[in-house]
Symmetry: none
Subunit: 270 residues, 2 copies
């Protein structure tokens, strides 16, 4: 099924923003961002570029030669790799250890990570408080780490992190302690009770037959259950949460929440 976005005009002077991932079929950014770039008066277009991990360095070497390149949006599974190709990082990207947007800055590649601020913007747009609250994060990869950083920066009181790779969880917690010492961040069990926010930062739920990242029987209203997976929009976890009366926020909301941040990044307003 094709979710055709708003149409955009393209000519020989159009600048390119490459949406780099593998696969890219699930992408929501091109159809969301293209109308906003046009509204900002830019003759730029976002197009998907599907490159597998084994080829992504050669792809980047080629991409770097393109004179009408405006920048890149980087998605799964390249967000950590992309950090290694940047010459400079924003403090958030450095703290998270991953980037999802790159632009050229005087011939050097500058990387930033907007997933966390996108998730935070979406939570606020839906009226969910973060300051003073407690959150459970399952999955301390790029997206999960970015969300943890943004929520801790917004005054989250307590965070429990679960990741099957324990070193990944502890690395995130160490970074949070350095950057956001007021947030009580520790490793914890993937058990929802006692938390206001429950966040799935794993890819579980993307494919049919995936196990759930946590036991949905342990969810209860008025918890807010957040998923980072954009497709399917309603993951099995979110469906179970909704059935149990919880508020839910799909991965598409995290994308929607960062579209304006992306426009600002590529137009150098930030």
């Amino acid at each position: 099924m094709s979710h055709a976005g708003e149409p955009v005009p393209i000519d020989g002077e159009t600048g390119l923003i490459l949406f780099l991932g593998h696969p890219t079929a699930q992408a929501g950014s091109p159809q969301r961002l293209n109308p906003k770039l046009r509204a900002a008066g830019r003759n730029w277009v976002v197009v998907p570029v599907d490159v597998p991990p084994e080829d992504v360095d050669a792809a980047f070497d080629g991409i770097a030669t393109v004179r009408n390149l405006v920048g890149l949006i980087v998605t799964v599974p390249h967000k950590v790799w992309a950090l290694g190709r940047c010459d400079a990082l924003t403090p958030v990207a450095e703290a998270v250890g991953a980037v999802n947007v790159i632009r050229s800055e005087n011939g050097r590649w500058l990387g930033d990570m907007l997933d966390g601020r996108g998730c935070l913007a979406a939570l606020r747009a839906r009226g969910h408080e973060v300051e003073g609250r407690s959150a459970l994060l399952v999955g301390a990869g790029g997206a999960g780490s970015a969300i943890a950083d943004a929520l801790a920066g917004a005054g989250l009181r307590r965070l429990r992190v679960h990741d099957l790779e324990r070193t990944r969880a502890s690395a995130l917690i160490d970074r949070l302690h350095r950057h956001h010492p007021a947030c009580d961040a520790r490793a914890g069990a993937p058990d929802p009770p006692g938390h206001d926010l429950v966040i799935n930062g794993t890819p579980l739920g993307m494919r049919d037959g995936d196990p759930l990242p946590l036991d949905p029987e342990r969810l209860e209203a008025p918890q807010v259950v957040v998923d980072v997976i954009p497709k399917p929009e309603i993951t099995p976890l979110l469906a179970a949460a909704e059935a149990r009366g919880c508020a839910i926020q799909p991965g598409t909301a995290m994308l929607d929440g960062q579209m304006d941040l992306m426009v600002d990044f590529f137009t150098r307003r930030r």
Copy 2:
């Protein structure tokens, strides 16, 4: 000035056709081709990729890794280079020694050259006969050679070729003798009288102050004067020809004439 083409929708499943040139600002293909691809039911988009000659091999190495790549349209100055990156060539591309479209064929790169058939299609669309006629071609480079091949294949009776590099003219004539023995093809003076068609295949007329490729005082109605230069659309040669009552065909018509051929090439109808 931006010549914004018809808008096209783009999402994560959109396939890419890269318009590779240097520069690309003058390109007409994206805005011409995108609506036709959509009309053909394809979720594909043509975007410009501006890469200078010193970087084009690295660019191609990267482009070759992109899973949602449909193919490339190759323009100045990369048409001869591109032939060297193909694994297979159509007979026309091989005869001409240049390619302007490339697609992947079972993991191998197939190159074709559509400029000649584009010019022929434009002549026919304007009601100009080719079969049994005589033509003068000045300039036996890629575009001129492609046109000579297409016209000879369409039943041109007589062709006279002029090129300051005599070996280039004789190489073209040798190829025409092999592929189209019925056409009386020889080297000749750049002198229009006696010809039905007069074709400029040189770049003369692209820049202010260029000398004319032939003496316009020797043109006369009802000759048809064809130029390969797309910008300016009306070259000094075409302006002089029009003033003398000749029919004219600009280089943009050669592009328009091959848009349907490009759709056929990328959709594998040919």
